[in-house]
């Protein structure tokens, strides 16, 4: 039960219940689909970006509390960032979930740290990183793999 309390931390529950920029954007220039075949979870990320920077970011779709909160945190963290920064943040998050953090805990946001409960539920890893891997794939192809 205490494991569950850390998995479903207050911050995650908050993001799940009141997700940030949870909205379908018609005619968004880019729509990224993040989809987990195992459970049927599926989110669309609606993205407006120029060559340098993400100017607007929303999401919509269906998924468990973990994946939904994670998408909400993603949107909140990446909007307004340069593509380069955004890519670093994606890496940061995925490495943190995989227990190979790139930075010390005190350098992480509370939103990120709220996901530490996932470490005790390895089967939920895919839920947590679902939107992040979709975004990362997109950013890497925009930036070119070798930069």
């Amino acid at each position: 039960m205490s494991d569950l309390k850390t998995l479903y931390s207050d911050i995650i529950r908050h993001h799940n219940e009141s997700p940030f920029h949870f909205e379908k954007i018609e005619h968004a220039p880019v729509v990224l689909r993040a989809n987990n075949p195992v459970c049927g979870d599926r989110f669309d990320l609606f993205l407006t970006a120029d060559q340098k920077r993400i100017s607007a970011l929303h999401f919509h779709g269906f998924g468990c509390a973990i994946s939904k909160a994670s998408a909400s945190v993603l949107v909140k963290s990446l909007e307004g960032r340069s593509l380069h920064e955004a890519n670093n943040i994606c890496n940061e998050f995925i490495h943190f979930i995989d227990n190979k953090p790139l930075h010390a805990p005190q350098e992480l946001t509370d939103d990120f740290k709220a996901f530490s409960g996932v470490h005790n539920f390895p089967e939920r890893r895919d839920c947590a990183i679902l939107p992040w891997s979709a975004m990362k794939t997109y950013l890497e192809s925009k930036l070119g793999r070798n930069n």
Partner: protein
């Protein structure tokens, strides 16, 4: 005399090794009784040999036992001819053998294949892909809100160009037991053969394939107390000569020259390579176990558990059950208000309750019912009323946890 159900759980070692386990995922795979595990072990330790080619005792004994399982399977299915039984890897492979080994070459541009909206992906994707490849049409018989087949449209759906109707006996999501006899006879009046996906029924419900007059029946050993990696294809004799192998190799051939190969007859032509000998022997042991049960009794027993669980869910509140089929088996799907099925399953897992969350390899069904995912609970003979109590308690705790 049938084995008494109230002590049957003792025959399943998993529950001795994990006394706390509440296993409600038998529709995915069932646990194995002592007798099956012992048969597998004994085979490895005392008899291990390949079949069909050896002249020494180990191999001739293994061959005799292996071939004898065709008889056991045909008895279980209510089929008179043991040579109608081919061994495969599982339901999925059996269906693909019919799709690509038989129907493909008959299927012309503009022909149709009929399936239902409640098929498992294994009985859906092969037909969808085949239709794509051949320019044929996939007709999908719809499902009502209650989770039953909508038979009112079946007559117009089955036409002179329908080459096959594919139908699950029991839905792996809703538990619906389909009226397959009635449907087979409708199809046969139009001379359309019928494939029955019996993955959820074989070993759990009485089967009478000859009297149903089903043309093809498929199932997997691992869902009926048997081993992984073994399944069955039953094909009516009139089709057997026309089913072509998808794999070629040793053991399935009469003669090979550098230019030409002559194949053996059905079922051997479909079984190239070294078979899963232990799997087939284990399937035989699973059938021996099942033959000690009274399937009319066991199916009533699991139906009653399901009925009780549905009633308790209703009492609990905040749960929405998917479908209300009047004839149902040991499976129920539901959703908890505002809580994603994944979150429900994780919560229950913490209480050692194993349920499944997701689309259960039946995306078309869930889509047609407007639901992306459900929690699925499925019962088998080793489940008890305490399992229901524990699950309902855990769901009540979940509700409290979620509304805190």
């Amino acid at each position: 005399m049938a084995l008494p159900l109230h002590t049957i759980k003792d025959q399943f070692p998993i529950f001795k090794n994990r006394p706390e386990l509440v296993y409600l995922d038998s529709a995915a795979t069932s646990h194995k009784p002592d007798s099956v595990i012992l048969a597998l072990n004994d085979f490895s330790e005392k008899e291990n040999a390949s079949v069909h080619r050896g002249l020494y005792d180990l191999s001739t004994d293994a061959t005799r036992r292996f071939e004898n399982v065709r008889k056991k399977v045909s008895d279980l299915l209510g089929v008179s001819n043991p040579s109608s039984i081919a061994f495969t890897k599982g339901t999925t492979e059996s269906i693909n053998l019919i799709a690509h080994g038989l129907i493909r070459k008959k299927l012309k541009l503009g022909d149709t294949i009929a399936v239902t909206a409640m098929e498992h992906h294994a009985n859906f994707i092969p037909w969808q892909q085949l239709c794509h490849q051949r320019g044929a049409l996939l007709n999908i018989l719809p499902v009502t809100k209650n989770g039953e087949l909508n038979l009112s449209g079946i007559d117009s759906m089955l036409g002179p160009r329908t080459r096959l109707l594919c139908l699950t006996h029991i839905s792996n999501v809703l538990g619906t037991i389909n009226p397959i006899e009635e449907i087979i006879s409708i199809a046969h009046r139009k001379k359309i053969p019928v494939l029955i996906d019996a993955a959820q029924s074989t070993g759990h419900y009485p089967m009478m394939v000859d009297s149903w007059d089903a043309d093809f029946v498929v199932f997997s050993a691992h869902k009926m107390f048997g081993p992984f990696g073994t399944g069955v294809l039953y094909a009516k004799q009139e089709f057997a000569p026309y089913i072509e192998p998808l794999n070629f190799g040793g053991g399935a051939i009469r003669n090979v020259t550098t230019e030409h190969t002559e194949f053996l007859d059905y079922p051997y032509k479909l079984e190239p390579g070294t078979p899963h000998v232990a799997g087939v022997i284990g399937l035989g042991a699973a059938i021996d176990f099942i033959q000690q049960l009274d399937l009319a009794e066991t199916s009533l027993f699991t139906r009653n558990l399901t009925q009780k669980f549905k009633a308790r869910l209703h009492e609990l509140g905040g749960a929405r059950i998917l479908g209300q089929p009047s004839n149902f088996g040991s499976i129920v799907s539901f959703q908890m208000e505002n809580i994603h099925p994944h979150d429900v399953a994780s919560f229950l897992a913490q209480a050692n309750i194993a349920v499944r969350a997701g689309h259960h390899c039946a995306q078309p069904l869930l889509e047609s019912m407007g639901v992306p995912a459900t929690v699925r609970v499925s019962f088998s003979i080793y489940n008890t009323e305490q399992d229901i109590d524990k699950t309902i308690d855990a769901l009540a705790a979940l509700k409290r946890f979620w509304s805190r």
